[in-house]
Amino acid sequence: MTLLLSSLFVCAASIFLMLALARFKKLSSYVFLGSLIASCLLGFFCAAGVLTHQITDLAFRWRGTIPFEEFYIAIDPLSAFFLLLLFILSLAAGIYGFGYLRDYKGARNVAVHFSLYQLLILVIALVLTARNAVLFLVAWELMTVVSYFLVTFYNEKEEVRQAGYLYLIATHTGTFCLILMFFLMGVHAGSMNFDQMALSAYPLGFAGLLFVLAVLGFGVKAGFIPLHIWLPQAHPAAPTHISALLSGVLIKIGIYGLIRLMTIVGNFPLWCGILLLAIGIISGVLGVLYALGQHEIKKLLAYHSIENIGIITLGLGIGLIGHIYHQETVSFIGYAAALLHTFNHAVFKGLLFLSAGSVIKATHTGEMDHMGGLLKVLPWTGHLFLVGSLSICGLPLFNGFISEWLTFRAFLEGVFHFDLYGIMLACIAIAALALIGGLAALCFAKAFGAVFLGTNRSSHPADYKEGDLVLQAPQLLLAAICLWGGVFPAVMLSYAFEGARPMTRLTAPEFLQEAVLNPAFMVTKVLGLAVIFFLVLWLVRKISLCSCTIDRKETWGCGYARVSSRMQYTASSFARPVLRIFRLPVSFKVESRISRGYFPTGAGLSSSVKDASEIFIFRPVFYFIKKLSRALKWIQSGFTPYYILYILFLLVVLLIWKLH
């Protein structure tokens, strides 16, 4: 606990220091860098210590200062797991941000931005450790507001302001549900303290109500479809390191909240588990389909966050269903898979956002169809992006595979242990996961291929410059974690199972070794064999090429003599067949402009994907709200005495209510 408190103290102190030194831009950014590294390392060691049982003082209480009892924070393995991911990712993203904003010439004060960044880490850590509903909500609100300021860094642009508003409104709507939920729980348990809440028993129907409120409230943050509309807007609008943090950590806090509720309430009706599975399937499949239809790289990555949230939710769903079916092993594996995927997604998505940021910094555009052939000019960024893509597709050798494997594993265990309907649910989820995996691979083949392979499509290929070490180092760190997590998964697996412990009654997971760690070791073995096979083939190739000739020619244009880079398959055309197959759920449209005549000019083709939930759910709802508020506009007269009248009126009403 001392480690965590000191880490938070470093954060807090650096905020004031940076604000004080705000005039000296250079100095304050160095203060940021130093304090960031210090606080993240301290926090990291604290979290790792808790997960390996080396730290034992787990709580800090400070009585009587906050309304409703106390300032009470504590770390259990669950919090520690999320803290781990928070500190790793905010370290990487922070260093990247330091490099990214070094040559920023705009009107904003960078020091303020950096101090807000530190404040965000502080409040997220508070959210993760709060053991009091009021403290939790306060920290949650602060988190929203601070992240809003960080997202709208480039607020001179209209679309950034729009995205920021959307984010703020969406998350506040979610917070309303959360306040209601905690209020109900507090009233039922007679305390706002999480420990006290966990002690009281909740009737199943009530638990279901709480669950729905939590799904609405936390789901907005996590980006469940159809509550996700803010997400694809906010990610491209924010500066790169903030997008990474947003996608890597902030949306995971929604997942954390949901899991925390599950640990407090304990027993849920079956439909809650089915609801989670349904959300997971819908978010996963639709998320990746929407991602396929995007042409802007950050937007694509943002939709992929939704997809991965879907996978995480599937893990949570099988965990909950396993719990309801009293199959504790299934449930344990499911929860651990969800946690592990949360961590892995934070790492590889952070990596992908950072390298996408480097691409955008070099090319000054986010349009994938204007890029191409960048692997030659940006080799570092390209290969780091490749590592990220392989991980996010869940392909073996990288960490994404381990968590997807564990998720599948949970479902297969479920198939063995459930009854008819349980097996059907599990099979549907397996099919959905398989589909998500295939589509994700397609999508990242598209993204990597369009951006880094082939030849450059832009009309003015400038001399692109690779970023320097400050930008590369954090990406290298994250890529190394991806590889480490895929090749030696034992450490992260045991952390994930430790983190999932508060959710099950299993204490000593003796099956862990046999069911999870041994197979994981076998995976490493097979991968090792694959690497050996590859090396042998490579050697054979080296030797055989010694005696042969190697020609370098133009790519064969199938007989066409004047091949240009504009003839390449673009990202949009790559995604077209699969989007045509799924055109119903994603309302995929292709518009072509064909010009006729002897010298045709201006022909073109554009494809787009419309977010169904935006069109069919939010537009009508907002339209209705707008009409309603217009109807109530007469109250807002702008005439001061009227307002005083309202206050008087309210006071009288309150008085009558109280006296009654």
Partner: protein, 306 residues
């Protein structure tokens, strides 16, 4: 260790023969004498000795992609039992690893195709990736059904000994699964109703157009990998249909060899008798495979034969 070497030996030696059988059958139906059975071996060896031509656009991914995919599919073969030989590496959940390794190989082949910057190869890559998305679901469902019936989470548990008794109880359902598997096999290995491995009309091809620019050793690797993948799928199908048991090594081994040669003949017959489907009808084929396995699953579940 010895089992690993044996397994690798089988994986290296046998697969091209399967391609030979298919072409021989097709030649028979066309009334020709056809290439010798060992022609694929000659082709591979010939290509291995040749030099390569690389596009100036390409990077290492184009050059090493085929090698990576060969290595990865070989590694996938390591977790799969072949005939009566248990897989050298087996563990609960290697089903998933197997399918994901195939996915990894495909991912690199797709990237290698995109690396050339040719629109034809982009088209082939895109089709390959699209169709495999759908067939992957079916493979997963089929393997889930088999796992459910044999109560085993590893490929060795499923294909060696787990299914023999199920044939007695739910034979017709297993035929459904086998049919679904066969359709997936055809589409994943780019055989005729889905893709024609022998045409050279770029616009209609899927897999072949994707590897248009490869030459020399890389092309040899691709050819071998194609045969290997077909062999792996075929060996799953044959083990499932025959319901092999790990005892009576020689008899069962003979069954397996006959089975896999028979599969080659069946594929050859299908290729001789059918024309390539139009691209949008390939989709219906994949949907049918999916429905077959859903049908099998629901029958098994409702019957309670689990």
């Amino acid at each position: 260790m010895s089992s690993l070497i044996l397994h690798l030996g089988i994986l290296l030696a046998f697969p091209p023969l399967l391609l030979g059988v298919i072409t021989k059958t097709k030649a028979f139906f066309a009334g020709r004498r056809g290439a010798p059975l060992c022609q694929p071996y000659y082709d591979i060896f010939k290509l291995m000795r040749k030099g390569s031509v690389y596009s100036v656009t390409s990077n290492w991914i184009f050059r090493l992609g085929p090698l990576i995919s060969t290595a990865v599919i070989l590694a996938a073969g390591i977790v799969l039992p072949i005939a009566v030989f248990k897989a050298p590496v087996q563990f609960g959940g290697d089903i998933i690893l197997f399918i994901y390794l195939l996915g990894l190989a495909r991912f690199f082949m797709v990237l290698a195709a995109l690396d050339t910057g040719s629109s034809f190869e982009g088209m082939g890559a895109c089709r390959e990736a699209t169709f495999s998305c759908l067939s992957e679901i079916t493979i997963f469902l089929n393997l889930t059904i088999l796992a459910l019936l044999s109560r085993g989470l590893s490929l060795s548990g499923i294909f060696l000994g787990g299914l023999a008794s199920s044939w007695m109880q739910v034979g017709p359902v297993l035929i459904l699964v086998a049919a679904s598997f066969f359709l997936v096999l055809l589409s994943e290995n780019s055989r005729i109703p889905v893709d024609d491995p022998e045409t050279h009309l770029e616009l209609t091809m899927i897999h072949e157009v994707m590897v248009l620019d490869h030459s020399g050793m890389e092309l040899g690797c691709i050819l071998y990998t194609q045969a290997l993948k077909l062999f792996l799928f075929g060996s799953m199908l044959v083990s499932m249909v025959l319901g092999l048991m790990p005892r009576n090594v020689w008899g069962q081994g003979l069954y397996f060899i006959l089975g896999i040669l028979g599969l080659g003949v069946v594929i050859g017959v299908v290729e001789s008798a059918m024309a390539r489907l139009r691209l949008n009808r390939v989709l219906y084929l994949l949907y049918s495979a999916l429905i077959f396995s859903i049908f099998a699953l629901i029958v098994i579940l409702v019957r309670g034969h689990v």
